[in-house]
């Protein structure tokens, strides 16, 4: 088990080092996420007021769209110089490689969300500081569920020519439960009278879905990557 986490740590650290050098995924993902939020704000916000209950939806749309972009790029990088084959050839538990890639992606998405959440709060007058712990839990758990499935699908599709089109087509239907829980839980916190109990219910549901998605992804990564 120690070896599993050691390999995951090395893969994550390598991904982050490559990203620090290139800044390719972070900058494109961030630019895309901010653009999505700005476009929605131009379309919806009138005289400084946004309609009720839209902020949560827009936040999660931005997270999911930009997350899909990041997922595709992290495995695309392994394809360029065929380094994915070198990773798979290593005498390690292959799910450890998946875990490392997932952790690297989660850190990138967390950085994007650190910009997105204040921006949504500012443009849509959402009370992001009312329940910061619960909001952070919803975002962390929702992003984990979404990224767990997305990382697996991105790895599966890395050798497929139409991978850029297929990734969202496969990913969004499967992650609908996570998206619903994320949006509904966040909306419960952002509404005029926040409903803590409802947010807690959706957090519980996210934990349930995350456990299923992460377990299935770890279980299927090895057979999926063996041609």
């Amino acid at each position: 088990m120690g070896s599993f986490f050691r390999v995951a740590w090395h893969v994550m650290r390598k991904d982050l080092t490559v990203e620090v050098r290139s800044k390719e995924v972070l900058l494109t993902t961030l630019f895309f996420a901010v653009s999505v939020v700005l476009v929605f704000s131009f379309a919806i916000v009138r005289e400084g007021r946004a309609p009720d209950d839209v902020a949560a939806g827009i936040l999660w749309v931005a997270v999911s769209f930009s997350g899909t972009l990041a997922m595709g790029r992290t495995f695309e990088r392994e394809r360029y110089n065929d380094t994915l084959r070198a990773l798979l050839l290593a005498p390690t538990d292959r799910p450890a490689i998946y875990t490392g890639k997932l952790l690297g992606l989660l850190i990138l998405l967390a950085l994007v969300e650190m910009v997105l959440v204040p921006l949504v709060g500012l443009l849509f007058t959402a009370p992001i500081l009312a329940y910061p712990g619960r909001l952070a839990a919803l975002l962390a758990l929702g992003t984990l569920g979404f990224a767990a499935v997305g990382t697996l699908f991105a790895a599966m599709l890395v050798r497929v020519r139409s991978r850029d089109t297929l990734l969202p087509v496969l990913l969004y239907p499967v992650t609908i439960p996570v998206m619903i829980a994320g949006v509904r839980g966040t909306a419960a916190l952002f509404q005029a009278v926040p409903d803590e109990a409802m947010a807690q219910f959706w957090i519980g549901l996210l934990v349930f879905w995350d456990a299923i998605f992460v377990t299935l992804a770890l279980w299927t990564f090895e057979p999926v990557m063996t041609e």
Partner: protein, 256 residues
């Protein structure tokens, strides 16, 4: 074609040599490809390929484009599974050996398997850690020394020439002292000096008891280097050769 006996040390098992990844004890001295076939849908990439290799041999896979050389290398590397037949590493197949077998395989692909954004040293340290080598930094330093790039170790790989990248990639593949070394078109894009250095390194590995399998089109370089040539055409073995001199002429006859 040869079908091998596969039990015990006499069937190709050997004690570990040096520089191994931590906790990996399995070793072998014989590789047997037993009636391997690989299909992609209805297309046959390989049909009934069978041969054996012993420690201390350099075996060339020769054939035109699409002959199945890369597919066979990927099967030997355990990255592809055979549709039929099996590959035996000593007394184990890839499915039986898993990580222990993979720990004894090193591969140099045509695409070099290096991260261009990382330095040569960072690439080598990363893979040394992935293979569980006890002192990754020392292993990387030694590999850079062997590659003749000790003074360029902290330069990012994307700034290297093809020859320099190839040297780093070869040392990456050999970091964990693999028994089986697989090389896919290793001489492509190299100048004479780099080719000579690569040939010398491969001969040194052969003398150290490695099994080297090389897929190449470069018959001039392969001439005299190979212990044995296996000619592939349309996924089938169409000939084998134990005299690698005058290879071009015999290749022409075998492939025609």
């Amino acid at each position: 074609m040869t079908h091998l006996r596969t039990s015990g040390a006499s069937a190709g098992q050997a004690p570990r040599t040096s520089g191994a990844s931590a906790g990996q004890a399995y070793d072998f001295r014989r590789l047997a490809v037993v009636d391997v076939a690989r299909h992609y849908g209805r297309r046959k990439a390989l049909s009934q390929v069978a041969f054996t290799c012993e420690a201390g041999e350099i075996v060339g896979l020769l054939g035109p484009n699409g002959a199945g050389k890369s597919t066979l290398l990927n099967i030997l590397a355990t990255l592809l599974t055979a549709s039929r037949g099996r590959v035996e590493y000593g007394d184990r197949t890839a499915a039986q050996g898993g990580g222990e077998v993979r720990a004894r395989i090193g591969m140099l692909g045509h695409d070099l398997f290096l991260y261009p954004e990382l330095t040569a040293r960072e690439n080598l340290i990363f893979f040394a850690k992935l293979y569980g080598l006890p002192d990754a930094r020392a292993a990387a330093d030694a590999a850079l020394e062997r590659a003749g790039l000790a003074d360029r170790g902290d330069d990012i790989v994307s700034g290297f020439s093809r020859g320099m990248r190839q040297r780093v990639a070869l040392e990456r593949a050999l970091l964990h002292d693999p028994r089986l070394v697989l090389l896919d078109e290793p001489f492509t894009g190299l100048d004479q000096a780099s080719t000579a250095a690569l040939v010398a390194r491969l001969q040194e590995r052969r003398e150290a008891g490695c099994i080297l399998v090389i897929a190449t089109h470069d018959l001039d370089v392969a001439d005299g280097l190979l212990s044995r040539a296996i000619y592939l055409k349309n996924g089938r073995v169409v000939g084998t050769d134990t005299d690698s001199r005058g290879l071009s002429e015999r290749y022409r006859i075998a492939i025609q």
